[in-house]
């Protein structure tokens, strides 16, 4: 549209601000637009399948606007019914998109469940394959009753340096946690990430949070409801050992899983 005709359009609109009068160009344009919109939804087989009632109403309003446009002084009515028709067309489109999304979601949900099962099986398998030597590797694994509740520590060996992804050697522990949470459906957990004091404060906060999140992600992937999981990153705060030695730093790099009591009561976050 040229600038000139645009300005003209605005003038016409301004002239038609009142609901009365003003048949002619404005109502003609509204009618055409509504007709075009109706045509589009009418030709869409998905819309016809999912939202036939809305399409019918769009058609009825359009027919009414069309009929009125042959009378003098009916501009406001034409514009009104054209507007209603357009709205019905839009509503038909939205209802269709919503239903199509839901159909897709149902398929994806099946796919997700299938993958979740496959993942569980593969984790079980790899636990069996890896055998007992794994246990010795997870030296830092321990479950202790502290004043914060039941706490399980996932040690440094389960992550590569600077990386947030949980290594496969964590499978056994992760499955244990999943099993535990499935046997205790009311319990919830808070997953807390910690680093040593090497590196910047911000990076440490981020890394600790990312590691905690990746543990949470695996639990969710294995079927634990994400509503039962809180995630926190504390960076280099709350060290369990002095950061002066390599051994101390390794102790401080950890993810702790704090379990609630049987009723789902979780101690306050730090």
């Amino acid at each position: 549209m040229s600038l000139k005709s645009n300005a003209l359009g605005i003038l016409i609109l301004a002239g038609c601000a009142s609901l009365y009068g003003c048949a002619g160009q404005h109502s003609e344009a509204a009618l055409q637009q509504a007709g075009a919109d109706f045509q589009k939804v009418k030709e869409d087989s998905n819309v016809l399948r999912i939202a036939p009632k809305d399409v019918i109403r769009a058609g009825e309003s359009l027919a009414r606007a069309d009929r009125l446009s042959t009378y003098w002084g009916s501009g406001a009515d034409v514009v009104h019914y054209a507007y209603l028709s357009q709205r019905y067309s839009e509503i038909a489109r939205e209802h269709t998109n919503q239903a199509l999304n839901e159909e897709r979601a149902a398929k994806l949900e099946l796919e997700r469940q299938r993958l979740q099962l496959a993942l569980r099986e593969s984790k079980l398998l790899s636990v069996q394959q890896q055998g007992k030597w794994l246990e010795e590797q997870i030296v830092a694994l321990a479950t202790t009753q502290t004043d914060r509740g039941l706490v399980m520590t996932l040690g440094d060996v389960l992550f590569d340096t600077g990386q947030a992804e949980l290594k496969n050697s964590a499978n056994r522990v992760v499955l244990k946690i999943v099993q535990f949470l499935q046997l205790n459906p009311k319990r919830v957990v808070r997953i807390e990430g910690y680093t040593d004091s090497t590196g910047g404060r911000q990076e440490n906060l981020k890394l600790s949070r990312d590691r905690a999140q990746s543990v949470a992600d695996v639990l969710v992937d294995l079927g634990i409801d994400e509503k039962r999981i809180q995630v926190e990153g504390y960076g280099d705060q709350f060290p369990v050992d002095a950061n002066a030695s390599e051994r101390g730093r390794a102790q401080n790099r950890r993810v702790e899983i704090v379990f609630s009591d049987e009723k789902g009561q979780l101690g306050a976050a730090r």
Binding site: H80, Y83, Q98, L115, A118, L119, D221
Partner: protein, 93 residues
Amino acid sequence: MRLTEQAIAQAKAVGATADEVPEMQLAETKYNRAKGSMADESYRNARMRAEQAELDARLAEAKVLTKKSEEQLNVLNTRIVRLRKQLQLGEAQ
């Protein structure tokens, strides 16, 4: 008027707000003007405004529901990507 009121209430119930959904803003403005027209005994204006407001609200509601269904799809897609990635990691080992 009653239908309009119901449509607006229903749209609000699914979380449509005038700030986020422009159609909701339209619906509320027109509904208020319809009430004004009723008070002035301008019934034809009142009817038109109420009818438009009703459909504005229904569209607002439909848009919010479509958006929710999109978000749901996104969540599922993210989870599936993550699961696939984990399965591949497992196989690579």
